[in-house]
């Protein structure tokens, strides 16, 4: 590293650091303070209430419902997405007709599968409102009516709504991980798969004995990404679900409750307390994930 003149270093850092302190670090710091107050807006000055907001949070039914939904997302989202993505990536790279070669048209498939990733979540939400329309005119119900199934209220049935939303999240995420895993699989030396095949190893065993262990690092990263995504869900739930988090709270998530508590009910202190809770949930998950998934790295 070189020594730069102070004027040059300050000149290059001043603007980004200032912007970052004002809009990012400052608000994060203040959030912890506001969480300890009963602040309701501009006129009333905030009163210090200590941990009152957090005690209230423990008795808040909506809060626990939202946390429960995050736990469901935390299990379902990575499990379904990664299974599908690994499956498709394996088909693309090793599922071809040739000797352990890639499948024909793999670039085309990757382009199509990745596409939902570049669409805005809000746009995807509106798109799926039409797909899930409860009467016979929705795409999904229209397709099902061909095989004689009555229209289903995908987003209005409390037991179904959350899963309908999980399905959309999976729909959007799969392609990203297909591309990610595909790149990882392409980096595995061809000889490994070839010699396994010569030894009479079937594709399924090959996947579990060779591909997956060599890809484990990437799978871990993917798992952490999806786990962190499981603590969000704001945009898709806000746009797609009925009544923003409904029916009757059946799909609500913490970010949505934070937003609603702050900007609809003006309970800024309580909303910040929820934010702090969300922060600790995310951090706990990240720390656990890093501990659990740590494994010997296979060099190749």
């Amino acid at each position: 590293m070189a020594r730069g003149r102070p004027r040059f270093i300050i000149g290059f850092l001043a603007a980004p650091v200032a912007l970052y302190l004002v809009f990012v670090i400052g608000p994060y710091g203040q959030a912890f303070y506001i969480a300890m107050t009963n602040w309701r807006g501009l006129s009333a000055s905030p009163t210090w209430v200590g941990f009152d907001n957090f005690t209230r949070l423990l008795d808040d039914q909506v809060f626990w419902t939202a946390v429960g939904h995050h736990l469901i997302l935390l299990l379902a989202l990575p499990l379904i997405t990664l299974t599908l993505a690994l499956f498709f990536a394996f088909l693309l790279n090793v599922g071809g007709g040739g000797r352990t070669g890639g499948i024909r048209g793999s670039t085309f498939y990757k382009v199509v599968l990745f596409l939902p990733q570049v669409l805005a979540v809000a746009v995807v939400g509106v798109l799926f409102q039409a797909v899930y329309r409860p009467d016979g005119s929705g795409v999904l119900n229209g397709l099902l009516s061909v095989v004689g199934v009555d229209p289903v209220g995908w987003l209005t049935e409390p037991d179904l709504a959350l899963w309908a939303i999980v399905a959309v999240m999976v729909w959007q995420a799969v392609g990203f991980y297909v591309v990610l895993f595909s790149a990882g699989m392409a980096a595995i030396p061809k000889e490994l798969h070839e010699s396994a095949e010569l030894d009479g190893c079937g594709r399924v065993r090959m996947f579990f004995l060779i591909t997956l262990p060599l890809l484990w690092d990437t799978v871990q990263v993917a798992w952490v990404y999806l786990g962190i995504a499981a603590f969000d869900g704001f945009a898709i739930v806000a746009v797609l679900s009925v009544d923003r988090g409904g029916p009757d709270g059946a799909t609500t998530v913490l970010p949505l409750e934070i937003w609603r508590t702050a900007f609809s009910f003006s309970k800024f202190g309580y909303a910040s307390a929820m934010g702090v809770a969300l922060f600790f949930l995310t951090i706990t998950f990240a720390a656990l994930a890093l501990r659990v998934t740590r494994r010997e790295r296979v060099e190749f």
Binding site: M1, A2, R3, G4, R5, I9, F12, L13, A15, L19, Y20, V22, F23, V24, P27, Y28, Q30, A31, I34, F87, L91, G95, G97, I103, G105, V111, V112, L113, F114, L115, P116, V118, L119, A120, V121, A122, V123, G125, V126, L127, Q129, A130, V131, G136, S137, G138, V139, W171, F176, L180, A183, A222, Y225, V239, W259, F263, F268, S272, G275, F279
Partner: protein, 279 residues
């Protein structure tokens, strides 16, 4: 053996084709529905439109202000990404290549921003922007976009600058080139592949942002809204005004440019978006 392989290949194609249809069908259906009448839309969802009608596209562009929203998005994302890249690459360069007191601290401060959920900052952020008089302005939104894009941009670019050889910059300095000029005329061109990836990452991230616009651009300034909040709002009001073809036209208008850009730059976009996970 050969037969077995072609069966396997067929099954693989089958699975991939099914998922491809799952991806394309909703988008294609939206596009086709924009040409339908309201009656057709509430009829058989799998039927094709009776005729190609473009009036719904006109309504979406004019009455539903989709044109305005798209323009606003282009403006905000253009300036937001340009600002992010300029400030981010400057900070990343200094932090990765020069030794000075506080370097590590500033770097860690930027990186820590990747760990915090933005929802934690939401309430204070709203008031910071409000107190600066930037609420309901594009300037406010752009500055916030830049600030929240910096952590990942700096993390990624600092790692990238570290991989570049130092000799070229040193030679330039020997020849009397100033530090600032060395950065803009020598380091930036050398860092082009990294800059392209992260630019794509930021353009897509900022274009798709929904939370920050709905918090920072209130209902009172509908003419300043960006496309994501505009589309989400049309969908909630479509129930009352019952202009479904208009909604589908608005959706198509939003999706098609993105798809076209994506197909043209798919290699760079896939690389740009997955770059963060591979690092």
């Amino acid at each position: 053996m050969r037969r077995e392989r072609s069966v396997l290949s067929g099954l693989s194609h089958g699975a991939l084709v099914i998922w491809s249809i799952t991806v394309i069908l909703p988008i294609l259906w939206t596009f086709l529905s924009s040409f339908k009448t309201n009656t057709e839309i509430f009829g058989d969802p799998l039927a094709l439109p009776g005729a190609i009608r473009f009036d719904s596209w006109g309504r979406a562009w004019e009455t539903a202000h989709v044109g305005q929203y798209l323009l606003n998005s282009v403006l905000v994302v253009g300036l937001g990404t340009a600002g992010t890249m300029l400030l981010g690459s400057m900070a990343a360069y200094v932090l990765s290549r020069f030794r000075f007191r506080g370097n590590r601290l500033i770097y860690l401060m930027f990186i820590s921003g990747m760990v915090f959920p933005v929802f934690l900052a939401l309430v204070p952020l709203f008031f910071v922007v409000k107190n600066l008089g930037l609420l309901d302005t594009h300037t406010g939104l752009i500055l916030v976009y830049i600030a929240y894009s910096l952590p990942f941009t700096i993390f990624f670019l600092a790692a990238f600058f570290r991989t570049l050889p130092t000799s070229v910059a040193e030679a330039a300095m020997m020849d009397g080139c100033s530090e600032t000029r060395t950065f803009f005329q020598i380091m930036v061109p050398m860092a082009k592949p990294g800059l392209v990836s992260i630019t794509i990452f930021n353009v897509i991230g900022q274009w798709n942002q929904y939370l920050l616009p709905i918090v920072l651009l209130s209902g009172g300034v509908e003419d300043k809204w960006v496309i994501t909040q505009g589309i989400a709002n049309i969908s909630t009001s479509a129930g009352y005004q019952a202009d479904w073809p208009g909604l589908f036209a608005a959706l198509s208008m939003t999706i098609i440019p993105v798809v076209v850009v994506y197909v043209v730059f798919q290699r760079q976009i896939q690389a740009g978006l997955t770059a963060g996970a591979i690092k």
